[in-house]
């Protein structure tokens, strides 16, 4: 547990401290005009101080809210600290937010001043300004294109700094006054409001104090032994809690350098040039990197491709063991060394990950294959589970205790408990103080004892002691006999097979679990070609008995893996069918982001669901479909239903189901 030093309990205090203690070490870099510009802690203090005093001259005062909009640029980070030094509260907003969303957040937070990146953001703020009556002034970083704008409420970042510097030069008392303002700040003060882009309903403003974020950051630094020698690249949205903690609070507490990329498109090259040691990215980033590599390898010469395939397969077998420090034969170590020279090293260099010590993936589930790939080539990739309401850290995986299916052990100072409903609750010093101006919604999430409901269902894995997240809590149900039923968890296991494109698990309030499957036309089609299976349409292929056999084998494997998991063992798939048509957003079966709409699917396929539970071996179904040109038709089919034999549930564990 880290104790919070009362002399260093706010970010502006940490800035003053770092400028004195680490004065000549780099605090921030930004690639501008093709060259990395560096600011030391002392220089950064000077920049922030000038801007902060300029803000005070413009009328920003304690308790005011101000917004930050734009990409990862040093001045926008400075603006956060400059405002906090005056006791004002930054409210960063996603730069790609649509005007309506932006208007709502700015008005709800009662923002009086904005610090934005460029013309695009100025235009956006101006377009909603009539809905944000408190907004008095907008400050911009990049002057391009703004010359002819009405400057009555608009001012350049450098001009604000000039005001500050002039004041500093003309008024000898101002420096002491500014520093006294910082000293008056306390750890318990509201430091930032981060609006969560909720998937449902309006976004909520999560209020975090200095103490919340600083203790979380100190714990995280200690957990991964981060110090002033780390290099990170700031490229995730400013308004996301991950970036706030990782590129701002952790940097101020550990003293490491934050690098801002030249543009959003150059991040990969910039990362290579910097050689980051600590990284944080959603699974999508890792997926894209891997896809890019695979596509390029497909274009490479035969020799290179063979070498790549051989060493990657070898790494898959041994790489993780070597990374986790297990004992392996000397020959393996030698060959791995050669592989590192020929393939893994150059690959990591291409990714800009040569110097990486710790990399995290978070935000959503990462495919186990992708996760293992990076670990096998020697990158210490770990998972963490976090929330804005927790100042990020809820659980994280310690080095050498990595499992693709878990999200780690409770972070330092974090307590976890699982509610009877299966929902994960946590309590920690990082827990937020509430949603801004929304006590009712706060009460829904934050209990009087300080526990936060995550909305996710999960359990503590008895083998590893780590948390596993299985599904959104609202989707988790129970079978008639009380067995826990987590549809997405089962579906994800099924979709792991390339032949299965989409799966719908049914079972809440029923006797057993049944599944409707969509085959993947590309994967199964190519299998059919190789196995002389003739088909004319998706429907025909879906009804093929040999395809059913193949899918049955996959489901059997899923059942076996379910049977090995204590709380899931009762939820094995008893019956399945392959749908006669692909689930489609045009028919309202999926959302536009390709998520299942369960209620609607249950309604549309009611005859099939009924057949699942009345023992029929086939069912007649007619569904209306919308074709791409908009006209509607009806597809009718007889769909076969297969029974599956479940694996025995370990007897000792049966009783726990209820």
């Amino acid at each position: 547990m880290q104790a919070l030093d009362p002399r260093l309990d706010t970010l502006p205090k940490l800035l003053l401290h770092n400028a004195a203690a680490l004065g000549s070490r780099p605090a921030m870099r930004h690639k501008d005009l093709g060259i990395w510009q560096t600011w030391t802690w002392a220089q950064m203090l000077e920049e922030i101080r000038a801007f902060s005093i300029g803000l005070a001259e413009l009328g920003l005062k304690r308790g005011d809210k101000f917004t930050i909009i734009g990409s990862n640029r040093p001045r926008l980070y400075w603006a956060m600290c400059a405002g906090q030094a005056l006791g004002a509260v930054p409210v960063p907003v996603y730069a790609d937010a649509v005007a309506d969303e932006m208007a709502y957040v700015l008005a709800h937070a009662e923002v009086t001043l904005g610090v934005v990146e460029d013309q695009e953001q100025v235009d956006k703020v101006i377009s909603v300004s009539d809905r944000v009556p408190q907004l008095r002034q907008v400050i911009y970083d990049e002057p391009r294109g703004l010359k002819d704008y009405d400057h009555s409420r608009l001012i350049a970042f450098t001009d604000v700094q000039a005001i500050g510097r002039k004041k500093l030069a003309s008024d000898p008392a101002i420096l002491a006054q500014w520093e006294a303002g910082i000293a008056a700040g306390k750890g318990g003060d509201l430091s930032v409001i981060l609006y969560t882009s909720g998937t449902t309903g309006r976004s909520k403003g999560v209020m975090l104090t200095f103490a919340n974020t600083i203790i979380s950051a100190l714990n995280a630094n200690a957990f991964d032994r981060l110090d002033q020698n780390e290099e990170v690249i700031a490229y995730l949205p400013l308004a996301w809690v991950g970036d706030y903690i990782f590129s701002y609070v952790q940097s101020y507490t550990a003293g490491y350098c934050v690098n801002c990329p030249e543009t959003a498109e150059t991040v990969l090259q910039d990362r290579r040039e910097i050689g980051t040691t600590y990284a944080f990215a959603p699974p999508r980033v890792y997926e894209n990197l891997l896809t890019l590599t695979m596509v390029r390898m497909a274009d490479a010469g035969a020799l290179k491709r063979k070498m790549f395939d051989f060493f990657i397969a070898f790494a898959r077998r041994w790489g993780e063991k070597i990374l986790d420090g297990e004992k392996v034969p000397a020959g393996v170590r030698l060959l791995y060394g050669i592989g590192d020279l020929l393939v893994y090293g150059p690959l990591k260099n291409q990714f800009g990950l040569t110097r990486i010590r710790v990399a995290y993936t978070a935000g959503e589930a990462i495919g186990p294959e992708i996760f293992r790939f990076y670990r096998s080539i020697g990158m210490n990739l770990k998972q963490l589970y976090g929330q804005t309401e927790a100042s990020v850290y809820v659980t994280a995986q310690p080095d050498h205790e990595i499992h693709p299916e878990t999200v780690g052990k409770p972070s330092t100072d974090v307590e976890i408990k699982i509610a009877d409903s299966g929902e994960v609750l946590f309590r920690s010093p990082g827990v937020f103080t509430g949603y801004y101006k929304e006590p009712e919604r706060t009460a829904e999430v934050l209990t009087p004892e300080g526990w936060v409901r995550t909305g996710d269902a999960g359990f503590l894995d008895p083998k590893t002691g780590q948390l596993r997240i299985i599904d959104r809590a609202k989707d988790v149900g129970r079978l008639k006999d009380g067995t826990l039923f987590a549809p997405k968890y089962i579906e994800n296991k099924l979709k792991f097979y390339p032949n299965i494109r989409e799966a719908v698990a049914i079972g809440a309030g029923r006797d057993c679990v049944c599944a409707m499957i969509n085959i993947d036309l590309t994967a199964v089609g190519s299998w059919a070609e190789r196995n002389n299976v003739v088909y004319a349409s998706y429907q025909e292929l879906a009804g093929n008995a040999r395809v059913y056999d193949m899918i049955a084998r996959h489901i059997d494997e899923v059942n076996r893996s379910l049977s090995e998991e204590e709380i899931m063992a009762g939820a094995q798939i008893r019956r399945f069918l392959i749908l006669h048509k692909e689930l489609d957003a045009d028919d309202g079966e999926l959302t536009r982001t390709q998520k299942l709409r369960r209620g609607h699917i249950n309604e549309r396929y009611a005859p099939l669901v009924e057949a699942f539970y009345n023992g029929a071996t086939e069912a007649q179904i007619a569904t209306e479909v919308t074709f791409e040109d908009g006209h509607k038709g009806v597809i009718a089919a007889r769909v076969m239903i297969r029974d599956m034999k479940p694996y025995p549930v370990p007897a000792a564990k049966m009783g726990r189901a209820a």
Partner: protein, 270 residues
């Protein structure tokens, strides 16, 4: 779209004037007695149907072609014809209808090539890359980097242009022309072959160049929407003759222009 600019359409000082220019290739008359002017800081469009003589006109302006008669006044100097070299030295830069980049060279090197006329140290100095030569190179590189930043092409700085998509190559070519810091920029169909998004990007860059650097621009373009949005004044050519010269709104309503584009009615009434 366009923010109101500080200058009124066509009210500035004349930068370039073409008077009574004619040009023929053998028996083919490409231009016949064309006169118009380009004023400082304006965006001037030259439009017309295929084969109207638009590109010939640009080629006369920057000295690729020698007109048979007429005269050209550029920055107050009267000439019978321009020489390409003199035009470039005098501050006229251009881009081409079909790209003319060094395909094997990177974006950076291509734009740096646009600085060639501004390099003052000799070949051997540059080989030495020491003292004043180095200083000069650093300065040129800084200007090139500003252009790269301006055109938002940092991500392709070190990529050979031959590997870039067409829209980006067009942008690099514009960058190379800008590297000359021209007083007059001639753009020959800057949007040809682009999709809508690329066109919008390019339009924005043209406006920004005009407003921020104060560069005078003459452009040939087929996309009428683009022409009407961008330009202050439009000159219309047809079969080598000037048939209209006015603001975009006036040109849109001009009977001669409509006839040139839609054809003559041959006694057929609809």
């Amino acid at each position: 779209m366009r923010a109101p600019s500080a200058h009124e359409a066509g009210s500035g000082e004349v930068l370039l004037a073409v008077e009574d220019v004619s040009l023929s290739f053998g028996g083919v008359r490409a231009l016949t007695g064309v006169s118009f002017d380009i004023r400082k800081r304006e965006i001037r469009a030259i439009i017309g149907p295929n084969g109207a003589g638009k590109t010939s006109m640009l080629n006369v302006v920057n000295g690729f072609y020698q007109p048979d008669s007429g005269r050209i006044t550029f920055k107050g100097q009267v000439r019978k014809s321009m020489r390409p070299y003199a035009a470039a030295y005098g501050g006229i830069a251009r881009t081409f209808q079909n790209l003319a980049l060094f395909r094997g060279m990177t974006t950076l090197d291509n734009i740096l090539a646009g600085r060639a006329l501004k390099m003052h140290r000799g070949f051997f100095w540059q080989l030495l890359r020491y003292g004043p030569a180095l200083q000069e190179e650093v300065e040129h590189r800084r200007r090139v980097e500003e252009i790269i930043d301006f055109l938002e092409i940092a991500a392709i700085r070190k990529i050979p242009v031959g590997r870039l998509p067409y829209g980006l190559q067009k942008r690099v070519e514009l960058g190379r022309a800008l590297a000359m810091e021209p007083d007059l920029l001639l753009l020959d169909e800057p949007m040809a072959g682009m999709n809508l998004e690329e066109k919008e990007d390019m339009s924005r860059f043209i406006i920004d160049v005009n407003q921020q650097y104060g560069t005078t621009i003459a452009l040939i373009e087929h996309d009428m929407g683009v022409v009407m949005d961008l330009s202050d004044r439009v000159v219309v050519l047809d079969y080598g003759r000037k048939i209209a010269d006015a603001t975009p709104d006036e040109v849109k309503r001009d009977k001669n222009v409509i006839r040139a584009y839609l054809g003559e009615p041959h006694g057929v009434s609809v």
